[in-house]
């Protein structure tokens, strides 16, 4: 997984953040994230179990499932913010939380306050050095190679996400799609090996959804970054996906989209007849998915009845 330092985009400047990081090296193809028989409990209730997931370098993986099933919780487990209830979770060859400096994280998010007067590039820059104490010294860029490197790296990621035209405007004035691009740049700025994206397409309009999805896929290929993306709707990212992890109350299924998003697999997961329909333009629609009131009146209520079957 030494893919971060051999990024496809040539970088002339040495990234100060990356130099302090011991270059993670290993045989190409070693999994970036692996979850074996993973389960998680939140407030005394099991959210999901039996999760098997292997994300290789440069993979684009979507996490799907009904509301409240714990998709964001999976991200928190991978970040080491929440311990798994069982199973084995390895991130970049270590326990979760150990390698967070090599993970780019984009939380599920509110937009910035419209009156916030901080430039987009400054928000990106915080992704690079926001956890360092003290203030940056006001040395002119040409006298400080480190600062020049940081500036170059920020320009590079801003260019990569196509935000150069508006990165110097206050972020509160930007549209949702523009803010999202800058936040992706923030997550990318330290050359992470993995991007964890929590519903990045949420609250974007359809053209922007398609554009941001294409952007993430391009970055994943160009920079050899593995992407684990929580999504509510699989369709905008369907053409780019290598794998899908589908979480449901009955268990979880992981595999290629064609193998997982099928009538048989989902019916087995939900333990109810579910039908996957492909529309004429190639979009997938899941019909009869029990997201209806019967099971989702109150997501904090303990699971009632017999929807706790293992998959298979």
């Amino acid at each position: 997984m030494g893919q971060t330092d051999t990024a496809a985009v040539p970088s002339t400047a040495q990234d100060p953040a990356a130099t302090s990081v011991p270059a993670g090296s290993g045989p190409a193809g070693e999994p970036v994230i692996s979850v074996h028989n993973g389960s998680v409990r939140l407030g005394g209730r099991e959210l999901w179990h039996g999760v098997e997931l292997t994300v290789g370098p440069g993979d684009f993986v979507a996490v799907l499932g009904p509301n409240g099933i714990g998709k964001s919780t999976l991200i928190k487990v991978i970040l080491g913010l929440l311990p798994p209830a069982g199973g084995e979770v390895l991130v970049l060859g270590s326990r979760p939380g150990r390698r967070n400096h090599r993970i780019g994280y984009l939380p599920q998010r509110r937009s910035f306050d419209a009156s916030l007067r901080i430039r987009g590039v400054d928000v990106v820059r915080l992704g690079l050095d926001g956890d360092r104490w003290g203030l940056p010294l006001p040395v002119p860029t040409r006298f400080s190679p480190r600062k020049a490197a940081a500036t170059a790296r920020i320009a590079e990621v801003v260019e990569l996400v196509g935000a150069s035209a508006y990165a110097h405007r206050p972020i509160g004035e930007l549209s949702g799609g523009e803010q999202q691009r800058l936040l992706i740049a923030q997550a990318l700025v330290r050359r992470p090996a993995v991007l964890l994206l929590d519903e990045p397409l949420d609250s974007l309009d359809l053209p922007n959804q398609a554009a941001v999805a294409a952007l993430i896929s391009r970055i994943s290929r160009q920079e050899q970054v593995s992407v684990l993306m929580v999504a509510h709707d699989v369709n905008p990212i369907l053409p780019y996906l290598d794998q899908v992890l589908y979480l449901a109350r009955g268990g979880a299924a992981c595999g290629t989209p064609a193998a997982v998003i099928t009538t048989e697999t989902l019916s087995g997961l939900y333990d109810t007849p579910v039908e996957v329909v492909r529309t004429s333009d190639g979009r997938l629609v899941v019909v009869g998915q029990p997201e209806a009131p019967a099971l989702h009146v109150d997501r904090h209520r303990p699971a009632v009845g017999g929807d706790n079957h293992d998959l298979g």
Binding site: N100, G130, D131, T141, T151, P170
Partner: protein, 294 residues
Amino acid sequence: MIEFITGPLSHPFFAHALLASTGIAAACGLASYFLVLRAQVFTADALSHVAFTGAMAALAFGVDLRLGLFATTIAIAVLMGSLGRRGLADDVVIGNVFAWILGLGVLFLAIYTADRSTANGSAGITVLFGSIFGISGSAAMIAAVIGIGVCLLLVVIARPLLFSTLDPDVAGARRVPVRLLGLVFLALVGASAAEASQVVGALMLLGLLAAPGATALRLTSRPYPAIGLSLLIGVLDAWIGLALSYAIPVLPPSFTIVGVATVAYAAAFAGTAVRNAMADSRQRAPRPAATIEV
């Protein structure tokens, strides 16, 4: 010209006032940038009233005034921070707590004026409205040292604090202690408030704790220059205010300092409003792809 500057400085009272207010205004200016950015101005408002109660309690029970001020403001600051999520307290809770604490202040004021025959009748007024020209040399020195200390601590936590203000989730994932930083910040605001109540008085603290940061945020959207600007504006407000009050003795210094801070903010507000209007009228043309410079 030289006399113009050395004249006032030859008076010890003015030199002391200048020394104390420089340190305090620097600390307040620095804190105010974050207060405005974090939308915690109301918390600062509450702390200013807590400062009054703390000082009155110290007077009523015969404890050192400074001790009372610092103990109460810092304690209440941390309390308010810990009541809310991420060190940001709920508006209604703040309102109730500080209304009651103000009531306690009135009680202490009554105890102080009733029980102590030697009491200085206008002590309450002094605490509320400040008396920078009455500060002693040693007190001025202490104020300056505390001000510089608060500044240094704020500078040390500035970048992670900015990160956790703008982006708490990502900062948390990067192991920035978001909640702790919020509490430390409020404690530092409490210390600044305690010091500043000696300059402009408990009631007008917001002049130093809100105006410089709000002005700096109007003038630039680059965070690090804005932090420096905020400090500078705070200090300049204090200096110009003191000079004005010296030149026109009928104007009390706390009024001139707060007045200068208000005028500076109003000017920045008007200036940016005009600039925005002009930018709007210039038909938001697509800007040339700016070269990225940080």
